[in-house]
Symmetry: C2
Subunit: 410 residues, 2 copies
DNA sequence: GCTAAATGTTCTGACTCCGAACAAAAGTGA
DNA sequence: TCACTTTTGTTCGGAGTCAGAACATTTAGC
């Protein structure tokens, strides 16, 4: 029951049905490959004739390809269809505080090569270094196919429309254009996105397809990133909620206590001030989480969040107390999201997932305590470990998504 | 960039372009009436021939009608088109704690007749009373047109799909079917919805069209209802966010302080415990907001929220303190929504809007203090006074919306 | 009355889906 | 071996829709 915005709509042309059905076929092949034309016709409830025509078009464009025929109990053997991904390359870039990762993968999300280098904070130098590495990677592996584009994930706020980094405190950037310089330096289209949204896109487009529960809509979830900050990306009906000025998802500064510890944002008692890595670390050290503490910890003075996690896992009581309290507060934060948005599930990413077995019961209990309905209390909360490089997968999803997205209409 | 859900999609047929363009024309007429075919063709960037065909179909169906021709500086005078609303009746019902309102209106949202009676808490008796009143209203005013359906707004949680009231503490109902009994008793289609979502639908479909700022997307907002409880309805891209189990929008139990005053939900420090009418009233009385207080106040023992508002407006210091604190806390709650969802604007409904001139600066200041970006801090916060019967308008929108909504696709 | 300009209609063509008929391919069994 | 059944995949005419040009209609101005 969507209202049409009469100031910005897309009217239908005579090729609109084609565009819609084409994408449906492509997505069905993607989700169920290998799949035959006849099976596609059954799933779409159309005649096989139409499927032949649609598939023929996708074959001509190189979006899919025909594999070998499959066995069948009776009758003619079906020729199986696959999405062409292995020779369509994607460059994924993840710029983080200390290291920048550059990865070469294919449209299906498969990793081909991965490298990293210390992050350069000067924009122009970073872009030229990135361009050089992209060129070298494509020269080395270019025989595997053609590159479809670059997905760039930046730490901080990003305006995905004009390709600018609005604010990246970890790099000291404010309103810096990186997309266009990188695009001209490499000759490839570049898509840019913030880390939390990128992780959500990775789940949405490259997610663990098979594990979804029956009846659960795969396009309704929240992805919460617990790291230096606490951010969330909201996905409703298969689409990321961006907000009127593209800043939706800032759950990090929901107050848990109006007179709580001071947060780096200036307010008091923010969720982030209780659950960020800095907060956990400060709690472990018995210090106030201040900007000074933050800086000194970043410079490598003192233990890191990884150290705390390792110690907690090894039985260190102080570390366990610090982490448990983080888990309790995170649970309260997740309960807010569960009540406010009622997602089908919540993904949690960040270093803290390394201790999931320990913290999961605490988080669940806190969520269940504050959830308003039984269904909300039972919302699956799924950890995503950092060793799967969710941000890099998100960068790949940035390039892959436009190929498979539903056409915008009405 | 929406992902297609391959387990539940709508494929295009050869009449899909027609369905889309038909709705676009209908909505353009609705938003810009009186409007000519030629103007429609310009706005849609199509030839006038296609518009003639689409308009002809809408005329045949009775969705629109031709008015008189308009003056033109040169050339043939255009015949103006209008949405046919005046002879298509709608019954709107708003069941509240003390009174139930029944209104007869037309598809355009115009009020024809309004009556009320003391709410009956027995479901069957309520339904038969409602059916009798609906029949009488239609008999009296039936000459004005045919009735398109009934919109029913209930206080509490509603499953809009199967027409059941899941939980309405004000009526003492749990899992009660009212939609189907009322539909069979009246022979009319009935749509049911919760109060906060209904108010949002009223704004979305019958909202103050002209006053929207340039560039502001009309389909991205949050409607916050401050009443016995505090609820919110989230509208993204012209569509209400319902959530995986249809319980999205429960911002009332966002904690402002984990160890704050006890809330009726069982937790502590909920936004509702600070800003509901009961909370304001309890603050004025210097009491704890308990279930017992709630009951005694509902029974008419002691002052009502309206009394407190009148006193605050007249200069009573205690009442002003109570209301100002409510405003401050509400501002914090709105800041959470601004940061989390980044809506284009926020509507606030409820008795407290009667004091908007006094509380607006406090609310704005609290929002601005916690908003993370300048754009978010500037989010317009618009009061909707209760004398416009927003819930009844929402009930009308329930019936009107399906007529104008975009077709679901892909 | 003629012309220009604008609105509204009609008609042919192109693109699409739709459904039925047809061809192709594999197994079964007389 | 070969007709029969079953399933897959293709082809083709028909119907619905948009696209665009030609045409008819109406008004104002000269």
């Amino acid at each position: 029951m969507r209202k049409i915005d009469t100031r910005s709509f897309v009217r239908a042309t005579r090729s609109t049905p084609r565009a819609i059905n084409r994408q449906i076929v492509l997505n069905l092949v993607r989700d169920h490959q290998p799949i035959s034309r006849a099976e596609l016709a059954r799933r779409m409830k159309v005649g096989r004739g139409l499927v032949t025509s649609l598939v023929g078009e996708l074959l001509d464009e190189g979006a899919i390809y025909e594999g070998p025929t499959a066995d069948a109990p009776r009758g003619r053997r079906p020729t199986m269809l696959f999405v062409r991904t292995h020779d369509r390359l994607v460059v994924a870039i993840d710029v983080r505080f200390s290291l920048t990762y550059v990865m070469l993968g294919d449209l299906g999300g498969t990793r081909i090569a991965l490298e990293s280098f210390p992050t350069i904070t000067d924009p122009a130098t970073l872009v030229s270094e990135l361009a050089a590495r992209v060129r070298r990677l494509l020269a080395e592996h270019g025989a595997r196919g053609t590159c479809e584009g670059i997905g760039l994930v930046m730490p901080g706020m990003v305006d995905q429309r004009n390709g600018r980094v609005l604010n990246a405190p970890q790099l000291g950037w404010r309103d810096v254009d990186v997309r266009d310089p990188l695009a001209t330096a490499t000759g490839l289209p570049v898509s840019i996105e913030s880390a939390s949204i990128a992780c959500a896109l990775a789940q949405l487009w490259l997610g663990d397809g098979g594990s979804e529960r029956v009846g659960e809509r795969p396009g309704d979830f929240v992805y919460v990133t617990v790291s230096d900050g606490v951010g969330a990306a909201i996905v409703v009906d298969g689409e990321v909620v961006r907000g009127a000025s593209h800043t939706a998802g800032e759950f990090g500064h929901v107050p848990l206590a109006l007179d709580g510890p001071r947060c780096l944002c200036g307010a008091r008692g923010c969720l982030e001030a209780y659950t960020s890595n800095l907060a956990t670390l400060s709690r472990f050290l018995g210090r106030e989480p201040s900007a000074a503490t933050s800086r000194s910890l970043r410079r490598g003075a003192g233990p890191t969040i990884e150290d705390v996690i390792v110690r907690a896992g090894a039985g260190d009581a102080a570390a366990q107390r610090a982490v448990d309290e983080t888990a309790r507060c995170l649970g309260v934060g997740l309960a807010i999201m569960v009540n406010a948005l009622n997602p089908a599930r919540i993904y949690v990413g960040g270093e803290i997932t390394g201790l999931w077995d320990r913290i999961a019961p605490t988080i669940r209990a806190a969520v269940a305590e504050r959830a308003l309905t039984a269904a909300a209390a039972a919302t699956p909360i799924v950890p995503e470990p950092g060793d799967g490089h969710p941000r890099l997968r998100g960068a790949m999803a940035l390039v892959a998504a436009p190929q498979f997205a539903a056409p915008r209409l009405a």
